[in-house]
Symmetry: C2
Subunit: 298 residues, 2 copies
Amino acid sequence: MQDLVIVGGGPAGITAGIYAARKKLRTALVSSDFIGQVGLTGPIENWPGEASIQGAALVDKFEDHLRRQAIEIIEEDVLSITKNEHFIVKTEDGELTSRTVLLATGRTPQQLGVPGERDYIGKGVVYCTTCDAPVYQDKKVVIIGGGNNGFSSAIELTDYATEVTLLEIADKCRADELLQERAAKKGVSIHTNQTITEIVGDDYVSGVTLQDGSSLPVEGVFVEIGSLPNSSLAPTEVKRNEHGEIEIDYYNCATSLEGFYAAGDVTNIRDKQIVTATAEGAKAALSVYDYLQFSPKL
Amino acid sequence: MQDLVIVGGGPAGITAGIYAARKKLRTALVSSDFIGQVGLTGPIENWPGEASIQGAALVDKFEDHLRRQAIEIIEEDVLSITKNEHFIVKTEDGELTSRTVLLATGRTPQQLGVPGERDYIGKGVVYCTTCDAPVYQDKKVVIIGGGNNGFSSAIELTDYATEVTLLEIADKCRADELLQERAAKKGVSIHTNQTITEIVGDDYVSGVTLQDGSSLPVEGVFVEIGSLPNSSLAPTEVKRNEHGEIEIDYYNCATSLEGFYAAGDVTNIRDKQIVTATAEGAKAALSVYDYLQFSPKL
């Protein structure tokens, strides 16, 4: 019987693992992957204390820190989580019973699905503007997606890039008028009815190809067509919001199901950042510790 | 006119500064001190990605990261903060006007005020058990303070230390009975009517002297007599809780006064940890950015 099973090996899950182990909770962390969104990111400049660090290097530091703890690491996918008397976490090759569960499975950015996209992740293809905008100082960029996120990204990028183009696949952009007006004022070039067919480059992105065969030379492609929380493993009793995010008590990461906690990008927190995910993981582990101290041994 | 004035140079203020600068807010950070509680801590083992780092080294990394940003750093104390049309932040040598203010002034642990205490901070004298307990594996420790924090610390330390003694100055401990019982069961040696008169040692703590002149040989002295939030600079309109902590909206770090934000240990968040403080600082800066985008230019 575990005190805590953590599902997910990103910044939230790893930090929860570090904190839980230090509290001497009997903890297992299950994840087939320690790379996640961070590992696919190019230089990260907003992780406190590191002026610039590659995503993969930061992930390595996190994983190394985790592996020094007294914690069981199970490198498998989780198939299901159910609660009877205890929680049952089914993995590919086994089954864990636990007094509590922490879901920290993150989000999956929606991809364009065009040739070149995967090859240039972290080399010009970006899924998080707040993370990477300053890298594109004095460069040309294109944003794909005409929703609020796309326009917010475009506006932010006008502070850095020399040319900012926004492409929307439909014949009309869905973003708030206010944002559309501001983007236009700040010189964003906006085009509807545009589909990207390929992302091209050498070591780094050099441009995109459009549906009519024309090319747009850019060094950054910001994909802002949405992302989905990986919340499907949560038992049905766990409340989600309209975006499918797990609704947590912001104070302590508790969910609507007793003993079931969630942390990081899979939840309805405001800012999906590495630093916020780590903090939510720490908070969740400390909450679980307090919960177990003051709840009867099941 | 600043967009944002950050008051405080600890993990919350510094991270807010990094995020605000990256969002190109016109930002000033005012702090006479970048050392704070972290800088006085010995090895830190729960900052994600660093298995063990000295408090002073981590503070240096944070400060270096901040100083690379486009942000005005004013190394003075703040004397007062008021709000009329804008916020007015008075410093020792000047005055700033700003559209928003973020208070990130942290907490001050209450000290015993005995000889030796200051000399051994980070060398055996500890003010945060969650941070440092594992360092005292197989060592003897004493906890000063018979409240809930003192007893929780003592219980946690029984998982590491070989001998755990708790001293209370009054004739009775104030902690919850449940905690007192559990501590007794776990072998904590509890003594009331005990006053420490000196902390002694060589390079590190080797013991404490009691009021009757007797000594207790220990390698760790955990001071758990409370800490106070440094919230006095917040304008009177800003709501505090019964502990004097600034009450924030956990979602976005807003306070009861429009345009006034707070982050980190000075607030009523659950866990006062470095990683949570940094995340709160990031969240506050991103909230301020959104607030300024959607509020009329004052």
